[in-house]
Amino acid sequence: MKGDHIGEFEELVLLTIQGLDEDAYGVSIKTRLDRETRREISLGAVYAALDRLEAKGLVDSAVTPGAAVRGGRSRRSFVVTPEGRRTLRHLRSLRDRLWRAALAREES
């Protein structure tokens, strides 16, 4: 199935877009990721991941008008597609299963 295999960083970007209350675009995604990972993520890496996710049909983008703080320059806003949400749920259930197994072994 298209978009089944995504890297860890792509997964983080996808999850960030899904979790953002505000409009998801380059700056808002990078700022959230910087804060959560406590390291400075390269803007170029975010763009590259967004391009790959869009090519896999997991996100959709649209050009939206820019605010004054950007000098009026437009933004490229992203939303997660239904396929992207399915992929996120699949990855979460996979991790949950693996975690359960790992924890059960730790406790025994």
Binding site: A45, Y47, A48, S74
Partner: protein, 306 residues
């Protein structure tokens, strides 16, 4: 010591770098993101604004280079694939040259295999898949040896039609004729057929009417054209019905045009009445009778009745 550039100058330099590495339709958005990040960092009191801006630019350049390398690898892989196939073809040609007997056997086997498959498919298509171009063909019966010898008059068909076991009966025979008077002469596949033939086959003309095969005066000179003949020789002219054409030097009035697909017997291009021209089939008159069984009559009962 040189002074660090002011943000506006830095943004100009940054814009130039963005123009170099980012596609035109994305530039405005990327520049906007870079400016917005600058202001966001300034708001939270960061002091390394210029360094962070340069790092953002460097990240952009690095990501673009990585993407270009990835694209180049993909193109190279495709080219390698094409080259490998070409090498395989050349290798195959060399092997064929070294072993001509094996190559000839392989080509012959392939030729026979393809020919056999084509022949089988053609037969299955004609016999099983494609319907015959006339209704209820299972009710049609061919009488090859007419019990009594008849002339080309209506008596033979009438004799069969008089039997209750048949709903219709007619005669036909195959031959050829020369179409003249329309540019170059052309040889046409012709059949003689009487009016009972078209009735028994259950197919009426697309244009015009079936030809009357016998009149009180003898054998009228009417002709019925196949659809393909009408299109190819007469350009599908609807006014052809009622006009005269010359066949074997004799003038015939076109009575009708049959629907597409109907070419029986064989690949007939024109049907003429029996007796109109003995050159069409030769001098001996020995037509085949085609008859349509009446409803509920079996072949066995028809055989017994004949």
């Amino acid at each position: 010591m040189t002074q660090a550039p002011r943000p506006s100058r830095l943004f100009t330099i940054g814009g130039a770098i963005v123009a170099l590495v980012v596609p035109r339709d994305r530039r405005e958005m990327v520049e906007g993101d870079l400016i917005e990040l600058w202001h966001e960092r300034r708001q939270i009191g960061r002091r390394d604004l210029r360094r962070a801006y340069v790092r953002d630019l460097a990240g952009l350049v690095a990501a673009t280079r990585r993407q270009r390398r990835r694209d180049a690898r993909s193109i190279a892989q495709r080219l390698r694939g094409g080259f490998a196939m070409w090498m395989d073809v050349r290798h195959a040609i060399r092997v064929f040259r070294r072993q001509p007997v094996f190559t000839a056997a392989a080509v012959l086997t392939l030729t026979l295999g393809i020919a056999a498959s084509t022949a089988i498919f053609t037969a299955v298509d004609r016999l099983l898949l494609r319907p015959l171009p006339y209704p209820t063909p299972e009710q049609l019966m061919e009488v090859r040896k007419a019990p009594i010898r008849f002339g080309p008059g209506p008596a033979l068909s009438q004799a069969f039609r008089a039997l209750e076991i048949f709903d219709g009966a007619g005669v036909y025979d195959s031959g050829g004729t020369n179409l003249e008077g329309r540019g170059e002469s052309a040889r046409l596949v012709a059949a003689i057929a009487d009016d009972g033939f078209f009735e028994a086959m259950g197919v009426g003309p697309l244009l015009g009417r079936p030809m009357p095969s016998h009149t009180a005066d003898g054998f009228p000179h009417f002709a019925v054209l196949a659809y393909d003949t009408w299109v190819a020789r007469f350009q599908g002219d609807r006014a052809i019905v009622g006009t005269a054409i010359t066949l074997n030097g004799k003038s015939y009035t076109v009575s009708g045009v049959m629907p597409p697909g109907f070419r029986f017997p064989g690949r007939t291009e024109v049907w003429l009445p029996p007796g109109a021209d003995f050159q069409v089939t030769g001098t001996a008159y020995a037509p085949t009778v085609v008859a349509r069984l009446a409803a509920g009559v079996t072949i066995e009962r028809a055989r017994a009745a004949l």
